[in-house]
């Protein structure tokens, strides 16, 4: 006989110790959110009995996974809530949720008209209209669209890149492709300096993280299948798959199997972040020689504040990004306290979350402003938007900082 109340997660490992509630950034500012323990394992038991027990207030979970990092019993608290949202929520995604999450579609439509789109999106009147009609908060600054997509730029370089003895595939993500090709160019420069040519995957779709959090699981799964097929092909040709976005990486490695039920065990270890790839190759391969690189002589130290994005903390890989920064001469690195910036991808763009997102980020913003830093460095694009909007500092990716430190 098959059991009726079957759970596909490990909620029964929860000891009710409440440690996760201490580290939940949302619970600290929003009492409407039931919190990770209650919304996760506690309510899961009820939901398994009767789906109508689902509490719509779980929409306030920003999927930062800090509960999972804190949990002493390895309960996948954040996954439990995400899955429950997708499975039980009766709330239909709105037009706004559609636009915020379908990054490939919106990016493809916007890029050809980038100068106009950027201009229009920067007008106060546009922001006001979007605020009142589709509830995208008017305080938000939209990342600009690039006229030339990263993919088009790299395709022109394909011949040059093929000349390198070693090859890798770059999972660039939507941000690099549609908004900020410069990070992709920096990545290519660094990899070339280490003797690696950069190729695209046969087909790359948005990793799907925003689709998952906005309730489009089916679309996310379809895009995940495309990505996994391309990743498998690259791996079968002995090419590592390297990304620069910590959230894309976390999604492909962990959210695919945990949330979307996409099997990736055969290729999971081959998808990694650029900073980890460099660390690994320096230790494993003679070709990857740091001493061959020439760095710019700065003369005075660059004071860097490093912010660990929530999803990078979940991956446990901030070590590699910090180690990469330490390889650059003349930098002084301060690792900021483990606080969430509050943006949570598309979460902070929503009018109903704006105020709480800013409250969550407040301790981080204060630490950044008071530290007297030249620059903030982080691996996540949405953390970058949030930090640049909410503080007076510029924010860069560690790969960009590394690329800028190299002589041409």
């Amino acid at each position: 006989m098959e059991s009726i109340n079957k759970s596909d997660n490990n909620f029964e490992q929860c000891l009710k110790c409440t440690i996760c509630t201490v580290y939940c950034p949302v619970l600290a500012v929003n009492p409407d959110f039931p919190g990770p323990k209650h919304g996760g394992p506690d309510q899961e038991r009820l939901r398994l009995k009767m789906p109508s027990f689902y509490d719509e207030a779980n929409k306030y979970c920003m999927n930062c996974k800090r509960c999972e990092v804190a949990c002493p019993s390895n309960v996948r608290v954040g996954d439990i809530i995400q899955k429950a949202k997708l499975k039980y929520s009766r709330h239909k995604p709105s037009l706004r949720d559609f636009f915020l999450s379908h990054t490939d579609l919106v990016g493809t439509l916007s890029s050809p008209f980038a100068p106009i789109v950027n201009k229009v999106l920067s007008w106060d009147v546009t922001k006001q209209v979007m605020d009142t009609t589709i509830h995208v908060d008017k305080h938000r600054i939209f990342p600009e669209y690039s006229h030339e997509k990263f993919v088009s730029w790299l395709e022109k370089q394909a011949g040059e890149q093929k000349k390198f003895a070693h090859q890798l595939c770059y999972f660039h993500g939507c941000y690099v492709n549609y908004n900020f090709p410069q990070l992709g160019k920096d990545f290519v420069k660094v990899m070339n300096a280490f003797g690696y040519g950069v190729q695209l995957l046969e087909k790359e779709k948005c990793c799907g993280v925003a689709l998952i959090s906005n309730g489009f699981a089916g679309q996310a799964r379809r895009q995940g299948e495309v990505n996994l097929r391309s990743i498998r092909k690259a791996v079968s040709e002995n090419m590592p798959v390297v990304a620069t976005s910590s959230t894309c990486t976390m999604t492909i490695r962990d959210e695919y199997p945990h949330i979307l039920n996409l099997k990736n065990a055969d290729v999971r270890d081959h998808v990694e972040l650029a900073t980890r790839f460099i660390y690994r190759m320096i230790n494993e391969s003679k070709d990857f020689d740091l001493s061959k690189l020439k760095f710019i002589q700065r003369g005075h130290p660059l004071k860097i504040a490093y912010h660990t994005p929530c999803h990078l903390e979940k991956l446990g890989w901030e070590y590699y990004s910090i180690e990469l920064l330490r390889m650059i001469p003349d930098v002084e690195i301060t690792v900021l306290k483990p606080n969430c910036c509050g943006i949570g991808g598309t979460y902070g763009f929503k009018k109903e979350n704006y105020e709480n997102a800013q409250k969550i980020g407040e301790p981080l913003f204060r630490e950044i402003e008071e530290g007297g830093f030249d620059l903030v460095v982080t691996d996540c694009e949405t953390c970058k938007w949030q930090i640049e909007m909410s503080t007076s500092k510029k924010c860069k990716h560690p790969i960009t900082v590394f690329a800028e430190a190299l002589t041409e």
Binding site: L15, C17, T21, V22, N74
Partner: protein, 422 residues
């Protein structure tokens, strides 16, 4: 990744060991699978409160001889009296150096109040908590007992009963924290850490003082639930000055602000000394070669192994999954070391939860210098310390904090000594 010492477990024991080794110039990494049991600390660290036969202890050092008779394999007996004294002193210093302000001494137990307002002996107590040299002797005649509306982890009734029993007059004051908040009347999830964050704001603190000041009356002390001072460690002194009366804290149920703060400050200290702390990662493979560990693998770092000259296991007890109970066995899930436990499961626990529970004394078997033992043979570069160890009962004997810190320092010193000999 290459380190001098790899420490598995990031609670009180792991951090104590890591701080001592970093201070001696060793490069350490701590791998912690999640936040530690320090989050449940009620503001005190115990050294030795009770002997195994139930007799109460007032002088822990003097009681070591009797402990040796009753339980010769106790971790304290392995450490020995001379080192016990030295390491107890050093532990206190280590806490002070990490900005954790504690009072008390290994020479004589003092007394604290539990969240149930029960008097218990202890070794060190955070200086902002209520404590006394003699049991049940508090210096006040009239106290103002404050509690917060909707805060469920503190029970003023227990304390009121206790104080009345001691002939102390109690003025009960209930405060609505939404009136304290700088964003007036905004709802607040009334949890200890949220309250602490509220009080870390200067303006909110002043609102609180204004609301409370005229209710203090002629009380000679204001007693608050211990949910203050997550960032501002001197907040009790500040409040005391602003109110013009002595302010002290009373223990709450977990998660406790003092425990969270202690964990944070020890971790900060370790990292400021150059240590690497990896949170939320689990060791999933340990490679042994001829009675020593060559490398370990973790869930997060996958195909990048961590290599160390020395390894320390301080993965804790059942709560943090340093020990796992299977239907008929108790195992160390990380290194697969030999575990001391009773083979008959029926003997593991007593049906009355307040009786001595034998499973509390289960733990990893070690040699005379706390090296882990696997299949009967000591692993040369692996020490074990803290709650993972066997042959003590932290609850019944009241020795959890002391065993964690003293064995951690003992192990750290042993590692440094081995290095010198090489």
């Amino acid at each position: 990744m290459i380190f001098d010492t790899i420490i598995i477990g990031g609670g009180l024991s792991g951090l104590t060991c890591g701080i001592h080794l970093q201070k001696a110039g060793k490069r350490c990494v701590i791998i912690s699978s999640g936040q530690s049991a320090l989050h449940f600390s009620s503001g005190s660290f115990d050294l030795l409160n009770t002997l195994p036969d139930g007799r109460s202890v007032s002088d822990p050092v003097q009681s070591l001889d009797e402990l040796q008779v009753q339980n010769p394999s106790h971790p304290y007996i392995k450490i020995g009296k001379t080192d016990f004294i030295r390491l107890a002193e050093k532990s206190q210093q280590l806490l002070t150096d990490a900005s954790i302000s504690v009072g008390g001494s290994y020479q004589r137990n003092h007394y604290r109040l539990t969240p149930f307002a029960i008097t218990k002996p202890t070794w060190l107590t955070m200086t902002d908590y209520v404590s006394s040299d003699q049991p049940d002797s508090l210096p006040w005649k009239n106290v103002c007992l404050v509690h917060f509306t909707g805060y469920l982890d503190f029970h003023p009734d227990f304390f009121q009963g206790k104080f009345q029993e001691l002939g102390i007059k109690v003025q009960n004051v209930e405060l609505d924290l939404t009136k304290v908040s700088i964003r007036k009347n905004t709802p607040l999830e009334v949890r200890s850490t949220n309250i602490a964050r509220l009080f870390d704001n200067e303006e909110a603190l002043d609102n609180f003082v204004r609301l409370l000041a005229h209710k203090v009356g002629d009380a000679d002390a204001v007693l608050l639930p211990a949910c203050l001072g997550l960032e501002r460690t001197n907040i009790v002194n500040i409040l005391s000055r602003k109110l013009g009366v002595e302010v002290k804290l009373l223990a709450t149920f977990p998660p406790t602000v003092s425990g969270i703060r202690a964990q944070y400050l020890l971790k900060q200290r370790f990292m400021q000394l150059g240590g690497t702390y990896m949170l939320g990662d689990t060791v999933n493979k340990v490679d042994f070669e001829n009675n020593h560990i060559s490398k370990i693998f973790t869930v997060n770092h996958g195909n990048i192994p961590l290599r160390g000259e020395e390894y320390v296991l301080c993965s804790g007890s059942f709560f943090s999954e340093g020990l796992v109970a299977l239907p008929n066995d108790v195992v160390d899930p990380i290194c697969g070391l030999d575990v001391d436990y009773i083979s008959d499961r029926k003997e593991w626990f007593a049906s009355d939860v307040f009786d001595q529970q034998n499973y509390e004394s289960f733990g990893i078997r070690t040699d005379e210098t706390f090296h882990g033992i696997k299949n009967g043979q000591a692993i040369s570069n692996l020490h074990v310390c803290g709650a993972s160890l066997s042959a003590f009962n932290a609850l019944k004997e009241g020795c959890g904090g002391g065993v964690s810190m003293l064995t951690a320092l003992y192990v750290a010193e042993d590692i440094l000594r081995q290095k010198e000999n090489k």
